[in-house]
């Protein structure tokens, strides 16, 4: 909490105000310190360990550590490269689909006049967006797996349906990505003020023109931000894929877990660290596009 300023406001002179203003800066700064220290320690330390381990090799005999690019090089070859590409493809596809579906649902909710429906749907989105992982995989196995209820009822297998594939995984991912997009984009849609629409209409704009010149430009950063969030979530998802497909779809998270669980050759741990670094770099690149745009949207959606 910010420390109390000693000057009592009853003094109320010009001198008192300047004194207070001068003191406020450094003291409020202190309140942010625990957060910064915590992230530095609990987030920065593991990150540093990843970066350090990915580019060094320690000789188990002598204990000497030297810098090497071999782990990173290996993480960009053969099956590891395939898994990276597979992850990026799956994440981009599901983020795009989930983004579009999420915006449609969010717009339906925002324009709906029923507050009960709205709050119920938002609570449901909050739960479903976090319903990833193992329980979701089991729910889908029971629904559309080989002996799943819907598979049996609708003879999905004859139609070429396979839950344990790229397509199946995409359908499962959409289950938590779409509600996530709804959660992210509803505030932005709420921020589109009716007055802007009325102003556009009074100036003779059509609905299409309103969306093209006002609505979409204002929403664009939020839309892109939502897409990035979805991409990152899909890219990072591990539990769902682990429980569903095992190894049949190449994904980088599954490869890392294999390498970490230890039943592999020595040196694999450093490849896991290198793969982790690759993941962070890819996600970081996307984020670097997103942050400047977010700042632009803050101007309109306050």
């Amino acid at each position: 909490m910010s420390a109390p300023t000693p000057t009592s406001p009853t003094r109320g002179t010009a001198g008192g105000t300047t004194l207070r203003r001068r003191r406020r800066g450094p003291r409020t700064w202190l309140a942010a310190l625990p957060l910064l220290a915590f992230t530095g320690l609990c987030f920065g330390l593991p990150l540093g360990a990843i970066a350090f381990g990915a580019v060094t090799r320690t000789d188990p005999g002598t204990g000497a550590t030297r810098v090497t690019g071999e782990h990173l090089a290996r993480s960009l070859q053969g099956p590891y490269l395939d898994s990276l590409i597979g992850s990026v493809q799956l994440s981009a596809l599901t983020a795009l689909l989930g983004g579009v579906l999420g915006v449609l649902i969010a717009q339906a909710l925002v324009t709906s006049r029923s507050t009960a429906l709205r709050s119920a749907a938002l609570t449901a989105s909050g739960v479903l967006a976090n319903f990833g992982g193992v329980p979701l995989a089991f729910a889908f196995i029971a629904t559309a797996g080989i002996s799943g209820v819907v598979t049996q009822l609708a003879d999905l297998t004859d139609l070429g349906w396979d839950l344990y594939s790229f397509t199946g995984l995409a359908v499962v991912y959409l289950y938590f990505l779409t509600p996530l997009m709804v959660l992210v984009i509803v505030p932005a849609l709420d921020g589109l003020r009716p007055q802007w629409r009325e102003a556009a209409q009074n100036n003779g704009a059509t609905g299409r023109q309103f969306w093209r010149h006002v609505g979409l430009p204002v929403l664009a950063p939020s839309l892109l931000g939502g897409f990035v969030l979805l991409f990152g979530t899909a890219f990072a998802a591990h539990a769902t894929a682990a429980a569903l497909v095992g190894g049949s779809v190449p994904l980088v998270t599954l490869k890392i877990a294999d390498a970490l669980s230890g039943n592999v050759l020595t040196g694999q741990e450093n490849v896991a660290l290198a793969l982790g670094l690759d993941m962070i770099l890819i996600a970081g690149l996307v984020m670097a596009v997103y942050l400047p745009l977010q700042r632009r949207s803050a101007r309109w959606l306050r």
Binding site: L35, L109, T111, P135, A236
Partner: protein, 304 residues
Amino acid sequence: MAAMTPTAPRADRAEAAPGAARARARRPRPRIWRGAVLALAGAYFLLPLAASFVFTVHVPGQGLTFEAYTELLGAEGFLRSLLLSLGLAAATITLSLLLAVPALVAVRIGSPRLRPVVEVMCMLPLVVPPIALVTGITTVLRWGPEHLSRTPLYQTFLAVQNPDFPVVLVLAYTVLALPFVYRSLDAGLRAVDVPTLVEAARSCGASWPHVVLRVLLPNLRASLAGAAFLTLALVLGEFTIASLLGFQPFAVWIVSISGAQARMSVAVSILSLLITWLLLLVLSRAGTNPSSVSAAPATSRKES
């Protein structure tokens, strides 16, 4: 609100002569579009839940049975893992709010230049997938036995990995939860005019703790509750970090029984959704109920 309806009627309207009156006359159409979207979404999101429930109670050839649920409470490890998850969630929520609230309020009131720093620090965990984070954590934890075994720090390394209450998971979960906590709190703070509120309270003679506890926090109640929900759900469902570090909270336990008892694992999956849902509802009540205060954040959000 209906004036904001989007895409569906666009095409026809572009052909017709544009005009506010005409556009307004077409209000009923979006309602059909809206109904269709919501119905389809509802079907997609309810189907797996309904189908998994059928899966747990209907055994082909035997008919209905509720064994998967009745055997659950007695199942080995069920209560222990659930309580562990709830404890971890409580600790994570407390820690993340204690860290984030002062920082965000401070950034709003007096240190706007810190804002990008705090934002980047809070949003960065989004860039680092849990599985990458866990590779880093295992590496750091290995330093304990390797380099620090003769220093007092080693005891700390052992203590944070206590299997009864793994503090290391709380720390990792707090990192993972920060982006969600930040988003929720930042949205709440945006809805309230913090500097004006603070100045008003200060010029009425309120002390700083009073300003934060009696003026700001009540206004942030909804977003505090929102941050708590997201963190709770995140912790209850987290699997990757806990399983790779070798602990057994709820999600890891479900997997451990799935091989032998498929039906029960699906039953627990449904229950875990219901438990999460119930907790969220209780918490959202707690966050918004006290009637006089709760009206304030709701209206101020709409106005801003």
